[in-house]
Each structure stands twice: as structure tokens, then as C-alpha cells.
């Protein structure tokens, strides 16, 4: 964790949410072709090269929720992941970048409830929070009591962040009030833990529904809105991200509350990660370019960034086996 993170996490005001305003949902208009064109042209309008690229890639690392969400996770696997979270980049590369004193870590480690204790223990003293996926992840169709109990159990086990999944059926049927009530209940169950609200955007059917679900989750008090579980057919995309962060901007303009953003799934390359950072900078501003406000949900992204950083330092294309496994 960098000095910056230590100051930010758990010290900035939480998102409190607000009452349910159905008109804030009804008034949302999204034109998908306009969204697509903005994304298509942005890559040509902004880019970072050379040392700027290196610095931005380091920022991307600081924003990664290093994730393992697999049925075959074991304590050993999670411990190895936590070790990687604490030391994401080879020390000689960081030294060459003049970044060795910055205590670079990933933003969090993200696991299932059963692995929370292991991760908390492994990360003890590092300041890296553990995030737990919850509420019957990924489908969210467990009994409500079970879902709420799962949140509480993970918080009790030491998770500082809870990634909940919303009930997609409320979005698909336009039952916004029910969605609001559900997410608000989750938020209460989270207590002090920060809550990320996963929309499962790939299952919501239209970009307008994604925007509306984003707004409802923020009204209900989500600290972050997050695209996907990583298990849907389509996970995070740049156009969906543009729509969601524009909703974050809208909510900020309405309430003064800053909600964070987490795209998850499908972000595997350094180049794509930079496009996300550019998008955040242009549409939300520099305030969101911190681990407190922005995360990548990713497992393979870090490996590609490490190779790019080594290439920047040496001028030689790197190989995967030169970097430690997570």
C-alpha cells in the first residue's frame, strides 16, 4: 500500500446514499451509438507514452483488486496471491523506475467468504484490505437471510470490502424500488465495510437498464458500482463503463457524494487498462484516479503490466516466467 492509500482508505466520507427518487431513474436517456462513438474516438484523443505510460501503469497496479474466485481455491493458493499483492512488481524494476520507496501494492485482494480469514492473516500489517464477494455470488439467488448472513460473516471474518451482487430480476422487470430496498439492506449489513455493488451488466439487456441500475444502487448507498462478476458471458467493456461513470458523475452532481467504480472481468492487458484510466480521467476527473475511487477486478492484468514495465526499463520485450506468479 502506498502512502496515498494509507491516508485515503477508511478516512474519506462514506457514500450515504439518499432516499429513493424514481424520477432520477425515469429521466435517464442513453444513446448507445453515441456512447460507442465516444469510446471509439477517445483512444485517438488521449494516450500516454514512455515514462507517462510507466507511471500510469503503476497506478493501474495500485488499483487492482487481485482476485481469485474459483471452486478449487485453497489456503495455499490464496496465500500465494496475497504475497503477490504485497509485492506486485520485481524490486529491481521498481528501483529502475525510481519507485522502490513508494510501497506499491495492489488495491485489495478479492476472494470468496471461505478464504477471507486466510487472506486477512496473510495480508496482516500490509494495509491491503480483503474484499469478499458475497450475497450468493455470482447469481445472487440464495435466500435473502442467507445473503445478509453471508455479508455479516465476511465482515466478522475481517473483510473490509464486500462485493455484493444485485438481483438482476428487479432490473429486468423494472422493479427499481425492490432493487433499492435490497441494496440498502445489504449496505446496512455491511456496517463499516465498504460495499461494491455488482450489476452483472452482461445480463441486463440494454445500456439504459445498466444506467438506471447504477443510479438505484448509488441511491441505496453503494460505495462502488461494479460491472460484473466475471462469470457472465460479457463482462466489463469500455462503453458500459462510460455509461456507468457518467451515472456516477450525475449522482455526484445531484448529491455531492462520490461513488467509486470497478470494472471487472475481461481486462487482461496493460493497453486496455490505460484506456480505462483515460476514460476515468476524462469523464470523472483526477479525483477518481485513486484506489479509493477506482479498482480493476482482474487476475491476469498484473502479469501483462509487469512485462510492459520491464520493457520500459530494459528496451527488451519481457517473458512471463521472469515475473513471480500470483
Amino acid at each position: 500500500m502506498t502512502a496515498e492509500q494509507a491516508i485515503l482508505i477508511n478516512s474519506l466520507p462514506r457514500v450515504e446514499g439518499c432516499d429513493f427518487h424514481p424520477d432520477w431513474v425515469d429521466e435517464i436517456k442513453i444513446n448507445k451509438s453515441a456512447v460507442d462513438r465516444r469510446i471509439a474516438s477517445l483512444a485517438g484523443r488521449r494516450t500516454v507514452k514512455k515514462k507517462w505510460q510507466a507511471a500510469w501503469l503503476l497506478k493501474a497496479i495500485a488499483c487492482i483488486d487481485l482476485t481469485t474466485l474459483s471452486g478449487d481455491d485453497t489456503e495455499g493458493r490464496v496465500k500465494r496471491l496475497c504475497a503477490k499483492a504485497k509485492n506486485p512488481v520485481r524490486p529491481d524494476i521498481l528501483e529502475a523506475l525510481g519507485f522502490d520507496t513508494m510501497n506499491l501494492t495492489t488495491g485489495a485482494v478479492c476472494v470468496y467468504h471461505e478464504m477471507v480469514e486466510t487472506a486477512v492473516a496473510a495480508l496482516k500489517g500490509s494495509g491491503i484490505p480483503v474484499a469478499a464477494v458475497s450475497t450468493g455470488f455470482p447469481a445472487g439467488l440464495a435466500p435473502l437471510e442467507t445473503r445478509l448472513a453471508e455479508i455479516k460473516a465476511s465482515v466478522a471474518a475481517g473483510a473490509e470490502e464486500i462485493d455484493i451482487v444485485i438481483s438482476r430480476r428487479y432490473v429486468l422487470t423494472g422493479n427499481w424500488r425492490a432493487l433499492y430496498d435490497e441494496v440498502k439492506a445489504y449496505r446496512e449489513a455491511c456496517g463499516e465495510a465498504h460495499m461494491k455493488s455488482i450489476l452483472a451488466t452482461g445480463q441486463l439487456g440494454s445500456i439504459t437498464k445498466i444506467a438506471k441500475a447504477s443510479m438505484v444502487c448509488m441511491m441505496a448507498g453503494a460505495d462502488f458500482i461494479k460491472t460484473s462478476t466475471g462469470m457472465e458471458g460479457v463482462n466489463a467493456t469500455l462503453p458500459v463503463s462510460l455509461v456507468m461513470i457518467r451515472m456516477i458523475r450525475e449522482f455526484y452532481e445531484k448529491t455531492g457524494q462520490k461513488v467509486g467504480y470497478k470494472p471487472a472481468g475481461g481486462i487482461g492487458t496493460a493497453k486496455l487498462a490505460l484506456q480505462y484510466l483515460v476514460l476515468i480521467k476524462e469523464e470523472l476527473g483526477d479525483d477518481w484516479l485513486t484506489p479509493h475511487m477506482f479498482r480493476f477486478g482482474a487476475s491476469s492484468l498484473l502479469g501483462d503490466i509487469e512485462r510492459q514495465l520491464e520493457h520500459f526499463v530494459t528496451g527488451r520485450y519481457s517473458a512471463a516466467n521472469r515475473h513471480s506468479m500470483g
Binding site: 444513446n31 448507445k32 451509438s33 453515441a34 485517438g44 484523443r45 500516454v48 503503476l58 525510481g98 519507485f99
Partner: protein, 791 residues
């Protein structure tokens, strides 16, 4: 700044596109570029050169030649020499050359992008991602038309040598828009690029050599306005295609009047950008960036007038301002900028002066607090509020990154404000309600309507303006027609106009009660304003009767009647067909009378008169049939989008009829015009006006709404002159003398109404050239409505 500091600020650094290899090419031409004539590089006759500079830095890029009269003549001769064999090639052979050019453009795309950006100042993102890909697409698309011309345009032939003059804002793209359709159709061209931006055209000439294009098919002559004038006025050029300012377009219209040169003009604009309260506001804001801050606003179809529904105006303006506060203006070769350099210091001065003038008139000028280079030609993105349609910044085309904002209350007011301009090139409509968007689209007087988008282009979708934004279309099949003509359309001068016989001074007996032929205006017979009449003689010199001697006020009243009855233009095609069939029905009932009239007036045999009459009835049936069959098209450009190419009526048309076959020629001209929904002011045959005046009662009994056909009798050219000078008229068809044709073209320059004249030649009204699509094309203009979709 070290990496840790950048990590904290998350700032952007420079990201320049590599340009050294382009400079190498320029350096290899440091002696200056010659002219490309007959497939070779030829020195200009004079030593005069123009310096081509990089507007971002002022750096000298190259010296280009100035072609004089002798050089232009040499180029025209080369093109004329190449024409027979080039136009005689099978379509497939021409297609292979165009295909080869398209491939070469793709293979050299990055080089050309960098060269374009160096020369013009536009961001490398635009030249790389927009201009050059569209150039390649244009050649591919037209390689297709070269291949298909023999089948799909079999009744058409190419024109010959075509002179083309292009502007500096999209140098290579405009070259492609001009050259690709011209040579696909089988023409040979002499093209003059703009003097600020000739370099990609000169590189293109090298590609023509590499593609093995036969010498003389493409000739490129550089120079400024004088060189352009040499092309415009060259007698051996069959057509001029021009893209540029409305002022120069008007000059070209005047200069080519009466020359028989075909003409397409793609001119200026002041395009509206309409945002309704149910629009995706963020989408509309980013759309504005692509509308008016694309290519520094130096775009003829730039959405320069924002019209926003009053209730959301403040919110939209705030969002535009926040977007502009993040704008990056700078080195066009840098890949992190939104906007580059203005093309030339002269243009920069013009923009500055116009904005200052607007401020003096009370406009509020807002510019973001951003940094941009102090050296070079830069102007910040600018937002102007507190303006009304009377402000010069709202009326004049600024051709710079300057947006004016006005509000509206209702859909109708939005359309009225949008149309409150002399231009009519393009428009954008933002609404998530498709009913609303399409209704506005139908109301806008513009050649292109982009729904929820802006500045979309494709070779398959014709582009061009209404009103003073010019005429003709580029792209699509309609664009191909601009470089073709129907084979054998015109006859000689004989048999077009007919002189009166020596009068014998007496009327034949037995005609019953004297009938008084007046004008026909607004559905009523109207006495001529001057109170005078003129004698109409029979073929034997006896008096057939008298008709009104119309004057300028009669024309004024007739145009006014057409203007005040717009319903015909929006009624259903089925309705129009019904009325035209009804006219045929009622005319048919008066066969004996009309045939007698034709015999006595024109002196033809009864058999010939009967043939003319029968053909007239048939022709009415033809246009009754066509009324609901001359449909538009649905284009599918290579984005998720449909583009509806709608055939719209011109509006109000003046129609000046010849003498020959006075009934048939009158019907052959008026029927297609009204079938397509135009309202008309018709000057019937000067020699035989009674055929038209006899027609009044038929019109009155055929359910034709008032104001659709207005008829003024009198001196053909006196009345045509008034029509040509009438700025409410959208188009004029003239069949008369060569001098009259010249006059009509010349006088039409003021409002750039569409003209179709016979140059004194005759048309065989009984033949295939007497009716059909040719007439319908001249009676309509194409509006392309782009409808992107997705949810």
C-alpha cells in the same frame, strides 16, 4: 517530471506521431513540385511558386507551382486526348484501376495521414482515423460503379473533360470525392487542389503513376484562384465540380452560365444542431465536439448553430463548458489532442474578426481556460451565447471552432429556427423519441440529417446541400449521375421555338362567344396586373384570341400563391397521383376541342395533333404512375446505422415551356414537377399560350389544390428573367433560346436555385427523352437521414 511525480498528478505527456519519413519525401522535392499533366511531371510556364507551410509551426514544407492559362490548356488537352480510350474501356478495366488506387491508398495510409496533418494542421487522429480511411472507401466504392456502369447506367454516357476545384479543409478526401466518381464514369479530369494544401494531391499523382493509370486521365494542376478561373472558363471542359465557399460558387455559376457546362457546387453551411429535452445530453455534448470542434470547425457541414430546448439549456451549456475545460489544443501530430491548428493565418484573422464583430453586436463569448501553443495558428474552442438569428455570428459561416447557442420552445420552433438560414447543407437532431426525431428530420431543409449523431460520411450516401449550400450530390448513385448524361438527349436547335406567321388581321368566324384568357394564380383566373393583352395567331395568320401580357408583378403574385400553399409538398404521393389521373381524365373528355386547337394554332395535321394529344394523356398517366414509385433508398453504410435517402421536392419551381408541341411539352414539364410534390409557376409557350389557358378549366375541375400550378402568359424571356431573379424560387427549368438559357443560369446565381436549361436545343417530346427518371431527378433533391441504432 519523474515517474513518481507523474504517478501523483496523472498528467499526460507528449505523444508525437513520427514524421521524419514524410519530411524525407518533402526534402526529395526541395526544388519544388511541378504540375502533373499527361502522366508526367511538367514545369509550369511561369516561375511563380506558392509556399506551402505547416500551420502549426509556420515551417516551410514545399514550394508548389502556379499553373497559368497555357498549363491549364495543356492539361485539358491531355485529358481530352485520353478521354476516347478511357471512356471506351470496358467497365471492368476501369474498375481495376480504381481498385488499384484504393489499395495503394491503404498501403500508404499512414504516410498520407502524416502528410495531410503537416500540410493542413488537422489532428493526426482525424487524418488517420477519418480522412484517409474515407478516401480509400471512396475509391473502393467507385471501383464498384466503374464495374457496374455498363449494366446499371446503360443509357448514360460520360461527359468528357471535367474540371475540379477543391478546398483545403479535407484536401485528399475532397480529391477522392471528385476524382473517384468522375473517372469511374469514364471522364478524364483536371483537378486543382487548394493552394494551402496541395501536397497530398501531388503525392496522389505519384500513386496514379504507380497504379499505371493511363496518361491524361488524371491531371493535377496547382495554383490559386487564377488557376481555378482558367479551369472554370476553359471552353473544352464539359463540367465543373467545385467545393468551397458560397461566394466562389456563385462566381462559377455566373461564369459558366450559357456555356453548357454541367455544374455541381458543394458550398458553405451554417448547420443546425438541435437538442431536445429527451436527448442523451452527455451524448449530445460529445456530439458537439464532433460537430463544431472537428477539424477546428473548418467543416462546411459543421454543426455551428446549437438549438437547445429551453428547459435544458443551462444544464447543456454547463456540460459543454466542463467538456471544453478538458479540451486539449496543440500540435496536430500529437496523439493526445482534441484540436489542432487553423489552416492559415488569413483564416485565423477571419475567425477572430467575425467573433469580435459578434461581441460588438452583444454576443457573449466564452472560451475555456486552457493552454495552447502561443506560436502557430491556433484558436480556442468558443461558445457564444446571448445571440438571436439577427446576429452576424449566427448568420455568417465562420469556418472555425465557434458555436452559437439559441433556445427553442417547441418542435416547430426548432425547425423554423433551423431553417432560418440561406444555407441548407446538414443538420443534427438529438432525441430519444424516434417519432420526434423523424418529424423534425422531415421538416429540415438540408441535404443531410444526422439523428443522434453528426458528421457521418460514407461513399454510398450522397452528400450535398439544399439552397445556397449548393447543388448536386457526391457519393451514391445520385453522385454518379453528376458525371454522366443521357445519351442523345438533345436535338439540334431546330423545332424548339416557333415564329409567329404574318398576321392576316381577322379572326375566323364561328368561334362562339369570346373567351378571355387571363393568368391562373392561386387556383383562380387573375387579370394581368398591367391590364394588357397580346394577340395569339393561328398558323394561317388569323387571330386565335388574346392572352394576358404578364409582367413582374404577375410572377410575384404567382410565386406568392405557390409559397402560401405548401400542403401539396407534404400530401401523400397517392393523393398526387389521383389528381394527375383526374387531370388526364378531364383532358381526355375535351379531346375534340383540344385537337382542333392544336391544328388551327400550330398548323399540324389532324393526325399529328391527335398523336400529340394521345401522348399527352399517356404522359399524365406516366407521372400519375411515377408519383408513388420514385422512391428513395435505404443505405447501409459500414457502421451500425441505416441512412434513408429520401427524394424530396425542390419546393417552388419555375417552368418555362418551349413552343414546339405546346400541349405535350407543357404537360411533359409540369406533370413530373407536380408529381414529385413541387408547386410551380409556369410560363407556357410564348407562341401558343392558348393551349395552357384552355387548361385552366381542366385544372379547376380536377381537385388540384390552389397554388400548385400557376400560369402566367407573356413574353418568355421577360418573365423568365423575373423568375430567375426571384429568391423564393428553388429551381427553374427553361426551354427557350440559348441566350435565355444563359440569362437564366446567370440570374440564378444569386440564390443558387437549381437550373435545368436547354441551351436553345430541342427535345424530342414524343421519344424516350420526353419523360422518365431524368425529369424526376431534376424535380427532386435527395435528403439523407442517418439513423444509428442500438440499445
Amino acid at each position: 517530471m519523474n515517474i513518481s511525480e507523474i504517478y501523483k498528478t496523472m498528467s499526460y505527456g507528449p505523444a508525437p506521431e513520427q514524421a521524419d519519413y514524410v519530411h524525407d519525401w518533402l526534402n526529395s522535392h526541395d526544388q519544388g513540385f511541378k504540375l502533373f499533366i499527361n502522366g508526367e511531371w511538367v514545369a509550369a510556364s511561369s516561375d511563380e511558386t506558392i509556399e506551402s507551410r505547416n500551420p502549426a509551426t509556420g515551417e516551410l514544407l514545399a514550394k508548389i507551382s502556379v499553373a497559368g492559362a497555357e498549363d491549364v490548356d495543356r492539361a485539358v488537352k491531355a485529358a481530352a486526348k485520353a478521354f476516347p480510350s478511357w471512356s471506351g474501356l470496358p467497365g471492368h478495366e476501369r474498375a481495376k484501376y480504381l481498385y488499384s488506387l484504393a489499395r495503394l491508398i491503404q498501403k500508404t495510409a499512414r504516410f498520407m495521414s502524416v502528410l495531410e496533418t503537416l500540410d493542413n494542421g488537422k489532428p493526426i487522429r482525424e487524418s488517420r482515423d477519418i480522412d484517409i480511411p474515407l478516401v480509400a472507401r471512396h475509391f473502393y466504392y467507385h471501383a464498384g460503379w466503374a464495374q457496374l456502369r455498363d449494366q446499371e447506367l446503360a443509357d448514360q454516357v460520360p461527359l468528357g473533360v471535367v474540371g475540379q476545384i477543391i478546398p483545403w479543409n479535407f484536401p485528399l478526401l475532397m480529391l477522392a470525392w471528385k476524382i473517384a466518381p468522375a473517372i469511374a464514369a469514364g471522364n478524364c479530369v483536371v483537378l486543382k487542389p487548394a493552394e494551402y494544401t496541395s501536397l497530398t494531391a501531388l503525392y496522389f499523382a505519384e500513386l496514379c503513376q504507380e497504379a499505371g493509370l493511363p496518361p491524361g486521365v488524371v491531371n493535377i494542376v496547382t495554383g490559386a484562384g487564377d488557376t481555378g478561373a482558367q479551369i472554370v472558363n476553359h471552353p473544352d471542359i464539359a463540367k465543373i465540380a467545385f467545393t468551397g465557399s458560397t461566394g466562389v460558387g456563385r462566381y462559377i455559376r455566373e461564369a459558366t452560365a450559357g456555356s453548357g457546362k454541367k455544374l455541381t457546387l458543394e458550398l458553405g453551411g451554417k448547420s443546425p444542431y438541435i437538442v431536445f429535452e429527451d436527448a442523451d445530453i452527455d451524448g449530445a455534448v460529445e456530439g458537439l465536439v464532433d460537430a463544431i470542434w472537428f477539424n477546428q470547425g473548418q467543416v462546411c457541414c459543421a454543426g455551428s448553430r446549437l438549438l437547445v430546448e429551453e428547459g435544458i439549456a443551462d444544464r447543456l451549456i454547463e456540460k459543454v463548458k466542463s467538456r471544453l475545460n478538458k479540451f486539449r489544443v496543440g500540435d496536430p501530430l500529437d496523439k493526445t489532442i482534441d484540436m489542432g491548428a487553423i489552416v492559415d493565418p488569413i483564416q485565423l484573422e477571419r475567425i477572430t474578426a467575425l467573433v469580435n464583430k459578434g461581441a460588438e453586436e452583444g454576443a457573449e463569448i466564452w472560451q475555456p481556460d486552457i493552454t495552447f501553443p502561443t506560436e502557430g495558428c491556433y484558436y480556442p474552442p468558443t461558445l457564444i451565447t446571448n445571440v438571436s438569428p439577427s446576429n452576424s455570428v449566427v448568420r455568417e459561416e465562420i469556418f472555425g471552432p465557434v458555436l452559437t447557442v439559441m433556445t427553442f420552445r417547441t418542435l416547430k420552433e426548432a425547425a423554423d429556427l433551423a431553417n432560418n438560414t440561406r444555407f441548407g447543407l446538414a443538420s443534427s437532431v438529438w432525441s430519444e423519441n424516434i417519432n420526434r426525431a423523424l418529424e423534425v428530420a422531415s421538416m429540415l431543409k438540408a441535404g443531410v440529417v444526422w439523428v443522434n449523431s453528426t458528421n457521418q460520411f460514407d461513399a454510398a450516401c450522397g452528400f450535398g446541400g439544399y439552397r445556397e449550400s449548393g447543388f448536386g450530390r457526391e457519393g451514391g448513385k445520385e453522385g454518379m449521375y453528376e458525371y454522366l448524361k443521357p445519351a442523345g438527349e438533345w436535338g439540334s436547335e431546330k423545332g424548339n421555338l416557333v415564329d409567329s406567321p404574318e398576321p392576316t388581321g381577322s379572326a375566323p368566324k364561328g368561334f362562339g362567344i369570346d373567351r378571355t384568357a387571363k393568368n391562373y394564380v392561386g387556383g383562380k383566373q387573375a387579370r394581368p396586373d398591367g391590364g394588357n393583352t397580346r394577340v395569339v395567331l393561328n398558323a394561317d395568320g388569323s387571330i386565335a384570341g388574346r392572352v394576358g401580357d404578364g409582367n413582374r408583378k404577375d410572377i410575384r403574385n404567382a410565386v406568392e400563391a405557390a409559397f402560401k400553399n405548401p400542403g401539396w409538398s407534404t400530401t401523400t404521393a397517392h393523393n398526387r397521383a389521383q389528381v394527375i389521373y383526374y387531370i388526364a381524365e378531364n383532358l381526355s373528355a375535351r379531346e375534340a376541342e383540344v385537337v382542333d386547337r392544336l391544328v388551327s394554332l400550330t398548323g399540324v395535321s389532324k393526325k399529328a395533333a391527335k398523336a400529340e394529344f394521345d401522348m399527352s394523356i399517356s404522359r399524365l398517366f406516366s407521372y400519375g404512375a411515377w408519383a408513388d414509385k420514385y422512391d428513395g433508398q435505404v443505405h447501409t453504410p459500414p457502421v451500425q446505422n441505416v441512412a434513408l435517402a429520401v427524394h424530396e421536392p425542390m419546393g417552388i419551381m419555375g417552368i418555362v415551356c418551349p413552343d414546339v408541341m405546346p400541349l405535350l411539352s407543357f404537360i411533359s414539364l409540369v406533370a413530373p414537377a407536380i408529381a414529385m410534390g413541387n408547386r410551380t409557376v409556369v410560363i407556357p409557350s410564348e407562341r401558343y399560350p392558348l393551349l395552357a389557358t384552355d387548361f385552366y378549366q381542366i385544372l379547376e375541375t380536377s381537385d388540384l389544390p390552389a397554388g400548385v400550378i400557376n400560369i402566367v402568359t407573356g413574353d418568355r424571356d421577360v418573365l423568365a428573367d423575373v423568375l430567375a431573379k426571384h429568391d423564393q424560387l428553388d429551381a427553374i427549368w427553361y426551354h427557350g433560346s440559348a441566350d435565355g438559357s444563359r440569362m437564366v443560369e446567370q440570374q440564378s446565381a444569386a440564390n443558387l436555385k437549381r437550373t435545368w436549361v436547354n441551351d436553345g436545343r430541342a427535345r424530342d417530346w414524343m421519344s424516350v427523352h420526353g419523360e422518365g427518371r431524368r425529369f424526376l431527378r431534376e424535380a427532386t433533391q435527395v435528403k439523407n437521414i442517418w439513423l444509428p441504432y442500438g440499445d
